[in-house]
């Protein structure tokens, strides 16, 4: 570095300029590094857009093909079929609930017997499997007698241990089986050939008695059963039609796709040949000649036989409507079992809607036109408000973001519902009520929580918390809580709890900051007016800090929505809008999220495909949401700071 500052150089001398210009260079270098942050942000936006923006036109082309090849037509017809199947399922559930309502005792007995068989089977499995392995007819050498003896001895030992309840979680409880019955079952299993896995006679007896009981209680419901069967068979004509036409349209679509691929293949090969080395080029040219082997698909001609069947669709539709009216008349007014009755009522409630939908279908089918282009607006709105995210399927990939968005939202709400009271409460306590010694311990400890990597929390959820919650939920004393017992151990609630734990440090730290920043004069003035400590806190300090606390909550929300690993591991990955009829129990359903879908699918899709681009669009959406949240939080914070002065 030329040290020019000590020399009394006259201004304008080249030395001085050089000195200044090095200074200028250094400044420009640092300035350039500062600009890097802007560059990165711009690059993020640019590349997300670059990969994502192609999605809509490409998806639109796919949807266009979906329409042109007639898949959409079949989907219209199939919608009724699906609705009909759902209704049939409702009736079936009602019927079986009613039948089973009389057989509870038998079912429990059978379940307990199965539990014993399973327990003993699992306990002896190692020895049993080893025996099967050595006596396997295909194996090359027959086992030596001493090996057989050794293994049989093991089997007997394990069986004896299991019978005395010393293995695993111990002997399963059997409140509905008598002592002798249990003994009988155990004896039968003990007497069973070690190589066999047949159910013992007593279990079969129980099975038979259950079947008999079921038959008995089904007897008075024969009319109901017949009505259900008639209802279910009323859709058979439509079922056949749909599956036949779907084969036709699928073939059309496949042919169109194949042709598209061949055309593209030729193009790729042409491009490749242009730059290839000579030896490869001749090979490629041969490939090019053989590339396009199919004719372009004539959609109208391919669709004609399907459209010609509209009268048949009409007929099938009428049969289904008739079936619906018929079954509504024949159904019993009410069922004695509470659950069965609920299903029946649900069926009754859904009947008018179903009837109306079925009636509309014919009009829709007749009015359907293959050549109406799919608008880009429709594509976008379909993406934003779509209720399905179906990928990798045989029929048609559908990208609808709603279930993912709702999943993210629900989990965030659960997380905040946990994190806000704990985070803000802890902040108020630590700042206002706790002594200095507690403060010194609490603050760093909660801040330390922030350092736990999210993947570790995800692991905690999958290995410990999920199972724990599920086990707790099966306790009889807790069955009054809606949604208990929990079926899937990976669900929104588990994920929400862990994310709440992640958000607590953020909310705590920032709220504590906000409360701390309320000028001491506020509290002093309040004290001077004779307010109690609580009044000062809740009427003066917290309201003064409220915009800071709100900003803290928003930043916590930003963190929760953007979090990936916990939801990917713990949320259960079910792409469906939750069924809100469960009330508060909805939180125990699994869900998929915006972040989770990117993490789960990005590594596995071909670069540049529609699916790949769809994931980038999800990324853009996520980016915008989080940015908006953070921006609002920053505004709030600024307002909070200004209000302090």
């Amino acid at each position: 570095m030329p040290d020019t500052s000590h020399n009394p150089v006259p201004s304008g001398h080249p030395f001085c300029r050089r000195g200044r210009s090095t200074e200028g260079l250094i400044k420009a270098f640092f300035g350039g590094n500062a600009a890097l942050t802007i560059v990165i942000l711009v690059l993020i936006i640019l590349f997300l857009l670059r990969e994502g923006v192609g999605f809509f036109p490409e998806y639109r082309t796919e949807l266009q093909n979906f329409r042109k090849s007639g898949l959409e037509f079949v989907d219209i017809a199939r919608k009724d079929l699906t609705a009909h199947e759902q209704m049939g399922s409702l009736l079936n559930r009602a019927y079986f609930a009613q039948v089973n309502s009389n057989c509870r005792e038998e079912m429990q007995r059978l379940e307990e017997a199965t539990a014993i068989v399973n327990y003993l089977g699992e306990a002896t499995a190692p020895a049993h499997d080893a025996l099967v392995q050595v006596t396997d007819a295909e194996s090359n050498s027959p086992p030596t007698p001493e090996l057989l003896q050794k293994l049989s001895a093991q089997y007997r030992k394990r069986l004896a241990d299991a019978l005395s309840g010393r293995l695993g979680k111990g002997f399963p409880p059997t409140p509905h089986l008598s002592r002798t019955e249990q003994q009988l079952l155990c004896d039968q299993i003990a007497a069973r050939d070690p190589l066999s896995t047949d159910d013992p006679a007593f279990a079969n007896e129980l099975q038979a008695s259950l079947a008999a009981k079921r038959e008995l209680s089904a007897a008075p419901l024969i009319a109901f059963r017949d009505a259900i069967d008639a209802f279910q068979s009323s859709s058979s004509a439509l079922d056949v039609l749909v599956s036949e036409t779907s084969d036709t349209v699928k073939a059309t679509k496949e042919a169109a796709v194949l042709h598209g691929i061949q055309v593209r293949k030729r193009q790729t090969l042409l491009d490749a040949a242009r730059t290839a080395k000579p030896d490869l080029r001749s090979q490629l040219e041969a490939d090019i000649a053989a590339a396009v082997t199919t004719e372009p698909v004539d959609f109208t001609a391919a669709m004609a036989p399907v459209l010609a069947r509209i009268p048949q669709f009409k007929e099938a539709n009428a049969a289904m409507s008739a079936g619906l009216t018929e079954v509504s008349e024949k159904l019993p007014l009410s069922l004695s079992d509470e659950k069965a009755d609920r299903y029946l009522k649900a069926f009754r409630a859904a009947t008018p809607a179903m009837a109306a939908e079925t009636a509309d279908t014919v009009g829709l089918l007749e009015g359907w036109r293959a050549d109406v282009p799919v608008g880009i607006g429709m594509t976008i709105s379909g993406f934003i408000s779509g209720r399905d995210w179906i990928t990798g399927g045989e029929w048609q990939d559908i990208y609808g973001i709603l279930p993912l968005f709702i999943g993210s939202l629900m989990i965030s709400i659960i997380a905040l519902a946990i994190a806000i009271p704990f985070g803000v409460g802890a902040a108020i306590y630590t700042n206002q009520l706790a002594g200095p010694r507690q403060q010194r311990f609490v603050k760093p400890t909660i801040e330390f929580l922030q350092a736990i990597p999210s993947v570790v929390l995800g692991f905690v959820g999958i290995a410990v918390l999920g199972t724990l919650l599920q086990e707790v939920s099966t306790l009889d004393s807790l069955s009054w809580i809606p949604g208990f017992p929990i079926q899937q151990r990976l669900n929104m609630f588990t994920a929400g709890c862990l994310l709440g734990l992640m958000a607590i440090p953020t909310i705590f730290t920032l709220s504590e900051d906000a409360i701390n920043n309320v000028p001491a004069a506020f509290a002093e003035a309040s004290d001077a007016l004779g307010a109690s400590k609580l009044q000062t806190i809740f009427r003066v300090i917290v309201p003064a800090a409220i915009s800071g606390i709100l900003a803290a909550v928003l930043l916590g929300l930003g963190r929760v929505i953007g979090e990936t690993m916990v939801v990917l591991l713990v949320a259960g990955n079910r792409i469906q809008i939750p069924d809100f009829t469960d009330g508060i129990g909805t939180v125990f359903q699994p869900a998929h999220t915006l972040t989770g879908i990117i993490a789960q699918e990005l590594g596995e899709v071909p670069f540049g495909s529609v699916h790949y681009r769809a994931l980038f669009v999800v990324g853009i959406l996520l980016f915008v949401i989080v940015l908006a949240i953070n921006w609002t939080a920053q505004r709030l914070l600024r307002r909070f700071r200004i209000s302090q002065h």
Partner: protein, 373 residues
Amino acid sequence: MKNPEQLIRRGVHRKGIAEGIVKTFLGGMTWAVIAVALMIFGRMIWDGAPVFFKKEAPFVNMDFLTKKTETLHVFDDAEGIRHQLPASEFHQWKSSHGTDAVFNEQTFSYCGGGIAGPIVGTVLLTLLSVMMALFFGVSAAIYLSEYAKQGRFIGWVRLAILNLAGVPSIVFGLFGFAVFVLAAPILTDTPADRSLLAIPLGFTHLSFEGWGSSLIAGAATLACMILPVIITASEESLKAVPQGFREASLALGATRWQTIRKSVLPFAMPGILTSSVLSLARAAGETAPIMFTAAVAAKDDLPWEGVGSPLGVLTGQVQALPYHIYTLALKIPTSEYTERAQFGSVFVFLLMIFLFSAASVVLRNRVRAKMKW
């Protein structure tokens, strides 16, 4: 009319009860959070520490830390005794005892051996990314605190820093994948088809076709992610150096750069470095950004083995502890045989993170104590 003093006292007393209730309630909440956190740590330590520590010297299970990841084979021998062996030992056992002696064989991928690969990968990723982020971040902070005047450019930079800090990690993953894996420039004789732009340089091409999934791509992604943290922390440290230092230096005739180099940076450096240790913990802990840019579930080699040149280390994929834990949690069912690998990895990982965090706290306190002007 009663004695007013008594009235006041009674009022105070009643309020005292209310205050006590509220205080207990809020305190209970605070301590509940801490209790839950401790319970989680407790569980991880309870199950993980026995893997990590052992009774005899050197008291640490070196095998677990230094061996490579293998498949775990669990099987019974003819006596009904259960064995758990990693693949290499299992093949030895099998060749010495005969194939027929193995019964009820179960295999658990990634659960045998140790976790040397993931540890090494994480260390490399973290160091590389922090190094990059420190270079750019400190330079940017110098500009912000030493050169910049309020203006539009600074406004934009501050906005960018704020926004970058809020970008979700998975979006950084997408960004790293799109930019570093698929579009960054390399020198190559034969540009790939998907290259964005190939500039012929005469002897070779500069092709924007990306570094592929590699250590360097992952580190670059992580560096972008921790950059705002480092800039903010560095700027604070620089601003904490008293203005008089600069004035004195400038008054002696030093140039701006000399001033920064001799009179500002040396005093800000400790602060910058301690806060960067915290971002070290963050870079080590993130999974989403490296999922698509660097990490691989299984790799026989350590990063420097089997590569042609030293630079090959940077272009290869690596295993990483957080990704390893993700794989173990998601793809391997929890059972008594997999818990060693699962909880052991988590324990080592947490230990690493907490060493970083604790180091930063201790350093910060020492620096604060010493650097008072």
